[in-house]
Assembly symmetry: C2
Homo-oligomer: 227 residues x 2
DNA sequence: TGTACATCAGTGAACGCGCGTTCACTGATGTAC
DNA sequence: TGTACATCAGTGAACGCGCGTTCACTGATGTAC
């Protein structure tokens, strides 16, 4: 956590060393605590222990910092999905279940990132890093869905495929959002948070996947980590 | 639009007559234009042509006004769904398709309301009107899904049913959000906005409904209004 | 190994601005008699 | 029908605050010779 510029036991450091990354972390937390409406560069600076004008050296303005957080958000989502695919097995639907579960768990673990990546916030939407990161995350779903349907990759214009992508993405994305926004609990108020994250999420994914693979896919899930 | 208090041809009116409703309308538009981070009571007052302190007479603070907008949002959603059910027919899945389509169209027609109702914003979450309105909207889906499955209404604790509700809600909600947030276009960049709202939305709903009713339900949709 | 200098990274005081909120007020409306 | 008065609905000036941004600065690091 400490920078290479640090020379003594004192906390004061002139050259931080990795202020950019630190501001992104701190910004993410601020976003989770206060939402966009409470997100300010000055508060980020304060939390990073740095002068009020320091953040603009790295990001220009609020939009620049939010864009950086969104990019990290998409990259992290891609990595979480790819990691979940390792050892997911080859049973029909198993790979789709793995990335769907990873998507939901990622949103819950990093709601700040998730909201800024997918939400309605001021971003530099044409920022090349952001565009690349966003495309990469969606491409994982497209690839796995193609494979599941035994179709060749590449061509666009197949609207049945587009709809399949839209359904899979919408269902998982909607579940994640309703969960982190506290709405999903209304489905059955007698259940607690963990039951939603594990049992209900599993069953919902199972229902979704069945609509892609036909019969009931592989065994009864719950390779899921508890939280 | 003019108030009963108005006495002459002049625009200046002392007693507005329906300032509360007017502020809600104006606030909704401001929210669509600038998001929560640009939402201020003073700007609402300015747009309503009223003094800066007027809004707090009706809503107390920003949270109060947002809560009122959210309540209107839920109520409008319920009404849109119930209206879509009139004349939806009785074919299996037809009623589910109707409320799903209404949900998506409503989100697109009123993104400000939609975001404040379902988003992550400062609201008085225990406000009785808000709670009632939110419950009512979800209850429509629960009712129709129960009917589709031929189950009696009432009891909770059926997790398969909970998962079915979660899937239907998540899919429709996710589709709506990804669409209004401009993300869904990444599914196939060659398609335009109208194609998503009509063709892709129809196909996606069809896929979803098939997972509830088994075979392909009734005829090929598109009773949808163009936009 | 040492020196001079350029560049990088962050400082801190200052500015003007729009915000929420307060408070004594006043014009319009409604009601009792 | 008229009058007195209470209440309702909004005014407008004032306040203190935290914000983004600017700007001349300075300490630390890296490089050329």
């Amino acid at each position: 956590m400490k920078a290479r510029g640090e020379s003594s036991g004192e906390g004061a450091v002139y050259h931080h060393g990795d202020l950019r990354r630190h501001l992104i972390e701190v910004g993410e937390r601020l976003l989770e605590e206060r939402g966009v409406e409470g997100f300010t560069l000055r508060e980020c600076a304060r939390r990073a222990g740095v002068s009020p004008s320091a953040p603009s050296h790295h990001f220009g303005n609020v939009t620049g910092l939010l864009t950086a957080i969104a990019t990290v958000g998409f990259d992290g989502l891609s990595e979480a999905q790819e990691a979940a695919l390792v050892g997911a097995g080859d049973a029909p639907g198993a790979r789709l279940r793995a990335i769907g579960g990873a998507y939901i768990r990622y949103a819950l673990a990093h709601p700040g990132r998730f909201r800024v990546a997918f939400g309605h916030m001021p971003l530099n939407h044409e920022d090349p890093d952001l565009v690349t990161a966003g495309t990469r995350a969606l491409e994982i779903l497209r690839r796995e869905l193609r494979a599941l349907r035994g179709e060749p990759t590449g061509q666009t214009g197949d609207r049945d495929f587009d709809a399949a992508v839209a359904l899979a993405w919408s269902a998982v994305h909607g579940f994640a959002r309703l969960l982190i926004d506290g709405q999903l609990f209304a489905v059955d108020p007698s259940l607690d948070h963990d039951t939603y994250l594990n049992d209900i999420a599993d069953r919902t994914l199972e229902l979704l996947i069945r609509s892609f693979v036909g019969g009931s896919s592989s065994g009864p899930k719950s390779t899921r980590r508890r939280t």
